[in-house]
């Protein structure tokens, strides 16, 4: 491979404006350009996407990226276009029929196509792809393929068939959170030999803290104390939309000189875009958000990530805290836990998986009937599993029901265990950092700054002063002058 090495750095500079690779990127890129099926893990925020974006401009053929997160797709395409990439698009359910047909027709014109797994099941897409040279097939968030993963997506299991139909392009499976068990599962599901490139997950510049409280009031006091001491770019995660609004309002009253906003999936598109960009531009100090925020956010200087509610699993927690300190400087994660907080993720699990009677109702419906009584996640679950079962012809309705119930119970078990693992981590008095990463890597590196509250860090001793100036102009004439570089 040595002959392409100098070339790669040049390409990186020309296309992306970076003068050097970050850890792991080059090794992964060389592997896939060399035609090796590759399974790679890189920690959140380390630039996973470059690993296929650069090959997509070097390769002649098409690069397909399967991603389960539509908002992430949209953000990525937007970002790439803003950087001057023209031959990139996304195929997903946000498009109308005409837009979709247009893209499918011109599929060979693109370098890089992001695709939702559902789209890749559509015959029109599959048939078109068969006539196009696909060089690289990327499976983003590859842990979704594993039934042991925290975010199992049944439709990911069908990717293998598709890849075989495409005359086996090079596969790149990427994840930020894949335990060795999940890694095995990914390779098994794809049934190909894969080169593993595994980078440590731990982030040495993050200090981990868990703060216990007896009740919500005490929790809010803790929040108040921390915010008062740390006047810097902060994210606060919640599990409910309503709470993002409520606490954001409360903080605004308590800290009138800070810029605070909330963000969740229920807001209209224009407002979401504005709030996201305000945060990126340091116009906001604090953002109260649900997990809907942050997918495509690449902000360097987030100093504090607070979890007001318990995340549903350690993987989500690692991803969300991983948004802090991308500049490498010190940053802190604080999880606020009140006894009984686990009730919320347990409730969410119940609402995500179908009940017995819903399974029966689903099976008794006609294909054309609406499935309005089911949430999207429930539908997806039932669609895939009943399809798989019906492939075996001689199977009675009753045994389908029983098998579906068994599948559901298995998923439920996995999810409940994830929550219990989370609670166990919260309650451990051992080093938080070691415990957080022990299922991913045998050795956790030393913290670069402070380690965790088990190792003696006290968040109440931590203070940060504001480093950036918030804009203060509010005379419209001055604003316009500054905007268009007049009289500045």
């Amino acid at each position: 491979m040595s002959h392409i090495k100098p070339n790669l750095e040049e390409q990186l500079l020309t296309h992306f404006g970076f003068s050097s690779f970050r850890e792991g990127q080059k090794e992964i890129i060389e592997s896939v350009l060399g035609g090796h099926h590759t399974l790679a893990t890189l920690p959140t925020g380390s630039g996973k996407s470059i690993c296929y974006q650069l090959p997509s401009v070097i390769n002649e053929g098409l690069t397909i990226v399967v991603s389960p997160l539509i908002s992430l797709m949209v953000d990525q395409v937007k970002l790439l276009k803003s950087e001057g990439f023209k031959r990139v698009t996304a195929l997903n359910s946000l498009l109308n029929f005409k837009q979709k047909s247009q893209i499918i027709k011109n599929l060979d014109q693109y370098n890089l196509v992001y695709c939702s797994p559902e789209m890749l099941q559509q015959p029109a897409v599959i048939n078109r792809l068969k006539h196009i040279k696909v060089d690289l097939f990327v499976i983003d968030e590859a842990h979704c393929i594993s039934q042991w993963g925290h975010e199992f997506r049944p439709d990911y299991l069908r990717l293998r068939e598709l890849i075989q139909a495409l005359e086996e392009p090079t596969i790149l499976a990427l994840s930020a959170t894949a335990t060795p068990e999940v890694q095995e599962d990914i390779i098994k599901s794809l049934s190909v030999d894969m080169k593993r490139i595994i980078y440590p997950m731990d982030r040495i510049n993050i200090t981990y803290n868990v703060l216990h409280s007896e009740n919500q009031l005490e929790k809010q006091e803790q929040l108040h104390t921390i915010i008062k001491q740390v006047d810097s770019s902060t994210m606060i995660y919640f599990s409910s939309r309503q709470m993002t609004e409520q606490i954001s309002l409360q903080l605004k009253q308590q800290f009138p000189d800070r810029q605070i906003a909330y963000y969740h999936g229920g807001m209209d598109q224009q407002d979401r875009l504005l709030i996201q960009q305000q945060f990126m531009h340091d116009q906001l100090d604090i953002i109260c958000c649900t997990s809907a925020f942050g997918m495509g956010v690449n902000k360097n200087n987030i100093r504090l990530v607070i979890h007001y509610h318990l995340p549903p699993n350690l993987e989500s927690f690692i991803q969300e805290t991983g948004r802090a300190g991308r500049d490498g400087a010190h940053c802190v994660s604080a999880l606020l836990y009140s006894k009984g907080d686990e009730a919320i993720p347990f409730q969410i699990i119940e609402s995500e998986l179908p009940e017995d009677h819903e399974i029966k109702q689903y099976l008794s419906q006609d294909r054309q009937d609406t499935m309005d009584f089911l949430t999207e996640t429930k539908q997806r679950f039932l669609e895939y599993h009943s399809h798989q079962l019906k492939v075996n012809n001689d199977i009675s309705e009753l045994s389908i029901i029983n098998k579906l119930i068994a599948f559901r119970d298995k998923r439920k078990k996995v999810k409940i265990k994830s929550v219990l693992d989370m609670v166990q981590w919260i309650n451990t008095e051992e080093c938080k950092r070691k415990r957080l990463f022990e299922s991913y890597q045998s050795n956790t590196r030393e913290a670069e700054f402070e380690c965790c509250n088990s190792c003696g860090f006290n968040i109440y001793d931590w203070e940060l002063e504001r480093t950036h100036e918030l804009q203060s102009k509010d005379n419209w004439r001055e604003i316009l002058d500054e905007m268009f570089y007049r009289g500045v």
Partner: protein
Amino acid sequence: MIYFYHILLNMLTRLAKQRTISSAYHILRGKKSSQTLQDIHLFQLQPLYGIYPDLKKSTYDNWIDQLISQQFLLNTDDTFSLDLEKVGEIRDISKSFNGLIYNNFDKEFLKALKLLAQTLSNISYGQFRFIPLIDDMNIQWKVKKIIRENESKQDWLINQFYQELFKCLDEVDEIQAEIFVMQLSGVNRIGYSRKQLAELYQVNKEDIQLTTMNITHSLITMINNNPNQFPLLHSLIPAHKFHSITVSAAKTLELIQQGYSLEKIEQVRQLKLSTIQDHVVEIANQVIEFDIQQFVSESIEKEIKECLARTSTRRLKQIKDELHPSISYFQIRLVLAKLNQNEASEIINEPY
């Protein structure tokens, strides 16, 4: 500042005892039904048509519930009444609104202006890469085209945009100009959302929406009256969208002008006769030069007009009952449409 409360009461006083409580909602949203289009002419609410296209039903209902709980308003089965004494004096609202004429393109104009501002601001600082805050592809193409056409004279373009925008905003109220500019995004700042501005000025989100729309209409009027002074901003106004009839009605109009009868149009277009008649009423409402003589004879028109003068009601059923059974609803609606057009052309920009 334009207050939603004032606008709403203004509308409701006109519609009270004549229409249902949701008629004002449909007018604000700019519903393209023949009922709503007719209502705005009947009650001279043309300026307010479509000035709040994304108004949520739940938001509207909240306002109504408040009026009810203050005992200003009494909702009955098919209409409602207002207690004018309790409501007190209803304030004048700005005359800048021109909803019926502008609602087809005002949002598009505003988006294009915002994206052009963001783009030129970035260019003026030598930044050519940024995330556009307007997602609409058509708007993005439009702005790109302007930038491309002026590639060789970028400095001129930036300066021209700045000068035109400055001149326009200088003409409106200070607070309005401020609210408008706070929503713009550029290289060094991202605009405020309506919700954030509402908090900042301690008003309702609805007030910010209406105020923004009001300034937008002021700007469009100003630009349209002096296209030579505002060549760049004028190019953001799509010229062909001034007639506010639906696409389908436009097709019907084309066939009428070619001499087709309504029955023939019914066949050609495979639509119900009642739908075609709705189109004709819509056209009569909107197109001043449209002659209704081919559908209503002069004597019938006179009869209907006399009846209208006699009874003060605007409810079709009551009017119909007063007239000879051979006179159809369709004919009454056409006469009403023309009548209102004459009144409207005098009243359209008068303060309420």
